[in-house]
C-alpha cells in the first residue's frame, strides 16, 4: 500500500464524514423550521378562532346594550383590521410580526372595552348566551397565549441551532434565517375576563 494511496483514502473519508454531518445538520434545521411554521399555523388558527367569535358576541351585546354603539363599532373595526393582516412565516421579519401583534392587540383592547361595558348591564351578564360566549372568548385567549408560547419555544430552538458553531456554517450556506419572537405585551398577561 503506497503512502499516497493511504493519504487519499484518509482525505476522502474525512470529506465524506464532513458531507454526511452537513447533510444531517441541514435536515435537522429543516425539521425545526417546519416546527416553527407549524407552531405559527397554530397561532394563526387561534387568532382566527377569536375573530370568528366576535360577530356573535357583538350581536348578543347589541341585544341588551344597543346604546353602546361606539364600543360595538370599535370592536368590529378592530376585528376587520386584524383579519386583514397576514404574515408569511417563511420569511417573516421582526417588524412584520410586531405589526401583526399590534393589530391583534388592538382587537384585544377593543374586546376588553366591550367586556367592561358589559359589567354595567346585569341582564346581559345573566344571559346564558353571553356567559357562554364570554367563556369561549376567555378560552380562546388562553389558547392564543399557549400557542404563542409554543411558537416562541420552537423559534428559540431554531434560532439557537442556526447560530451555534459549527452549525451556523451550514445555516449560512443554505440560507436559514432567524425567526422573530412574540414579544410580551404590557398588560397582556391578563386576558379580558368578566367577573360573574
Amino acid at each position: 500500500m503506497k503512502k499516497s494511496t493511504l493519504i487519499w483514502i484518509i482525505v476522502i473519508a474525512v470529506l465524506g464524514i464532513i458531507v454526511v454531518w452537513g447533510i444531517s445538520r441541514y435536515n435537522a434545521f429543516v425539521t425545526m423550521q417546519e416546527n416553527v411554521e407549524n407552531a405559527w399555523g397554530q397561532v394563526e388558527n387561534q387568532y382566527q378562532r377569536r375573530a370568528d367569535l366576535v360577530p356573535n358576541l357583538v350581536a348578543t351585546v347589541k341585544g341588551y346594550a344597543a346604546h353602546e354603539q361606539a364600543t360595538l363599532v370599535g370592536v368590529m373595526e378592530a376585528r376587520a383590521k386584524a383579519t386583514q393582516m397576514t404574515i408569511d412565516p417563511t420569511n417573516a421579519t421582526p417588524e412584520q410580526l410586531a405589526q401583526y401583534q399590534a393589530a391583534q392587540g388592538e382587537l384585544s383592547q377593543a374586546l376588553g372595552r366591550l367586556m367592561a361595558v358589559a359589567e354595567n348591564y346585569p341582564d346581559l351578564k345573566a344571559s346564558e348566551n353571553f356567559r357562554q360566549l364570554a367563556d369561549q372568548l376567555e378560552g380562546t385567549e388562553n389558547r392564543i397565549a399557549y400557542a404563542r408560547n409554543l411558537f416562541n419555544d420552537c423559534a428559540k430552538e431554531f434560532n439557537a441551532s442556526i447560530r451555534r458553531f459549527p452549525g451556523n456554517i451550514v445555516a449560512g450556506i443554505c440560507g436559514f434565517e432567524r425567526k422573530p419572537y412574540f414579544e410580551a405585551e404590557a398588560g397582556a398577561e391578563k386576558a379580558p375576563t368578566v367577573e360573574f
Binding site: M1, R131, Q132, G139, N142, Y146
Partner: protein, 423 residues
C-alpha cells in the same frame, strides 16, 4: 449511610416543596396504581368514598365514550410561574390525558387554598365539551365549592361532564375517532441504503482486484494492498447488515480461492511450492521451531521450483499474544506465570505489579514490573434515592417505575381549551 442521608434530604425537600405548592412533575399520576385509576388526591382534599365514586364514573365514561377524565385535587399548586389555566394545561400535556389518536381527554383540577377550579379539554373533545359548556358546568356547581363542600362539588362536576358527553350527538362523535396517518414510505432511507450498497459493491470489486494482484506479487503484499477496501466493506456491513452479510461471505470465499494462486519467484519466474511441515523444518532455526511448538508463531517455507530459492513467511499463531520473547533462547515462549500486585493504584499515585515470567523452552525465569494507572473518580448521579422513594411516593415522572400492574394515559394533547373559575 449515604443513602439514608440523601433520602432524608429528599424527604425534607419534598415536604418543603409541598409547602410552596405542587409542581407539575410532582403531582402523582393516578395511573401508577393501575389503568382504572383516574383520580389524584395526594393531599386528601377529597374523601376516600368520593375518590372511589369519581373513579367508577371515569371508568364508566371511558368505556362508553372512550374519553379519559383525569381528576386532580390538591391543597395548593405551585403558582410562582403559572396561573391556574397554564398550570393545569401543562399538567394535561405532561401526563398526556386522552387517547393520542382522538385527543378526547379532560382534566378537572382543583386547588383548594387558592380556590381555583379548572377544566382543560383535549383538542378532540373541545367541540363536544366547549369552553362555554365547561364554564356553565362550573358555574352550576360553584355553590358547593364556595361552601367548602369539595366532595359534593367535584362529584357533581364530574357527573355533569359525564351527562354532557353521554348526550347522543356528543357520544357518537367521540366514538368516531379518526384513523392515524398512514406511515409514509421513507424514500431518503431507501436512497441511503441503495447508495451504501453500490458503494460496497465498488469497494468489493476494488478489493477483489487487489487480491488478484499483479503477476509475481507475493501473497503478503497482495493482502496488504487489499485490506483498506476490505476494512471499509466490513464497516459498511455494520450499517447495512441484512443484505450485505451474505454478500460479504460470498466475497470472502472468492478471496480465499484467490489466495490459493501460487506465488511466483521474482528471480526465475517459476512458481513456488509450499513445503510440508517435515520438509520445511530443516530450514527453520531452533527458536523458530520452538515458536511453532508453543504456537506463538507459525512459519510457511516456500521453495522455488526453478532456482530453489527458500523464502520463510512468519504468521501469528494462536498463542501469539500470550507469550513474550525470551531474552535467553530467542524463542517467543515466555509465559507469565504469576501476577502479584505490590501496591494498589489510588486516586493520587500509580500502583505497581510484579509479573513472574518463565520460558517454556529453556526454563529461564525473570521478573517484569508493571505500572498500574491511577484510578479516576467517576461522578455519577446517585439514583439510589430516587429508587427508594419511587416505590412509596409513586411520583408521576418515574414512569419506568410503574410495575406491571400500572397503567398509562393515552398520550393526548390540549392546546388550551376549557374554562376556570374562582370559588
Amino acid at each position: 449511610m449515604k443513602r439514608i442521608i440523601i433520602s432524608i434530604c429528599c424527604l425534607i425537600a419534598c415536604i418543603s416543596m409541598q409547602a410552596a405548592g405542587w409542581g407539575i412533575e410532582q403531582i402523582p399520576s393516578p395511573k401508577v396504581h393501575g389503568q382504572d385509576y383516574y383520580v389524584s388526591n395526594p393531599d386528601g382534599v377529597l374523601s376516600e368514598e368520593t375518590v372511589q365514586q369519581i373513579n367508577e364514573l371515569c371508568v364508566r365514561l371511558n368505556a362508553n365514550t372512550g374519553a379519559e377524565l383525569a381528576v386532580v385535587a390538591v391543597k395548593q399548586f405551585d403558582d410562582t410561574h403559572y396561573g391556574p389555566h397554564s398550570f393545569s394545561l401543562r399538567l394535561f400535556n405532561h401526563w398526556g390525558v386522552g387517547s393520542a389518536e382522538t385527543n378526547t381527554g379532560v382534566l378537572l383540577f382543583l386547588s383548594r387554598d387558592s380556590r381555583d377550579i379548572q377544566i382543560i379539554t383535549g383538542d378532540g373533545i373541545a367541540d363536544q365539551l366547549t369552553d362555554g359548556r365547561s364554564g356553565h358546568i362550573l358555574d352550576k356547581n360553584l355553590k358547593y365549592l364556595s361552601k367548602n363542600d369539595y366532595d359534593k362539588g367535584m362529584l357533581h362536576i364530574c357527573m355533569d361532564i359525564e351527562k354532557e358527553l353521554m348526550k347522543d350527538e356528543n357520544r357518537a362523535k367521540l366514538l368516531l375517532g379518526w384513523k392515524p396517518e398512514e406511515a409514509k414510505v421513507n424514500y431518503s432511507t431507501i436512497a441511503y441504503f441503495a447508495a451504501g450498497f453500490i458503494l460496497m459493491l465498488l469497494l468489493a470489486w476494488w478489493g477483489y482486484k487487489k487480491m488478484q494482484g499483479k503477476p509475481g506479487q507475493k501473497k503478503k503484499d497482495r493482502q496488504e494492498e487489499a485490506w483498506p477496501p476490505q476494512l471499509v466493506t466490513g464497516i459498511l456491513m455494520f450499517f447495512f447488515p441484512i443484505p450485505l452479510v451474505p454478500f460479504y461471505i460470498f466475497y470472502r470465499i472468492q478471496c480465499k480461492r484467490l489466495e490459493d494462486i501460487p506465488p511466483v519467484c521474482p528471480k526465475c519466474g517459476n512458481t513456488k511450492i509450499l513445503l510440508s511441515k517435515e520438509e520445511g523444518a530443516q530450514y527453520l532455526t531452533k527458536p523458530q521451531l520452538n515458536d511453532e511448538k508453543v504456537d506463538s508463531f507459525q512459519h510457511e517455507v516456500w521453495k522455488c521450483s526453478g532456482c530453489g530459492e527458500i523464502e520463510i513467511i512468519t504468521i501469528h499463531g494462536r498463542n501469539h499474544f500470550k507469550y513474550d520473547l525470551c531474552p535467553k533462547c530467542g524463542s517467543h515462549a515466555m509465559n507469565t506465570t504469576k501476577r502479584e500486585v505490590i501496591s494498589k493504584a489510588t486516586y493520587h499515585k500509580n500502583g505497581e505489579q510484579k509479573n513472574t515470567r518463565e520460558c517454556l523452552c529453556c526454563g529461564y525465569k525473570d521478573f517484569k514490573t508493571l505500572h498500574l494507572k491511577k484510578e479516576y473518580v467517576e461522578i455519577r448521579e446517585d439514583r439510589d434515592a430516587d429508587e427508594f422513594w419511587g416505590s412509596s411516593r409513586s411520583s408521576s415522572s418515574s414512569s419506568s417505575w410503574s410495575s406491571s400492574s400500572g397503567g398509562s394515559w393515552g398520550g393526548g394533547r390540549s392546546s388550551g381549551g376549557g374554562a376556570g373559575r374562582k370559588f
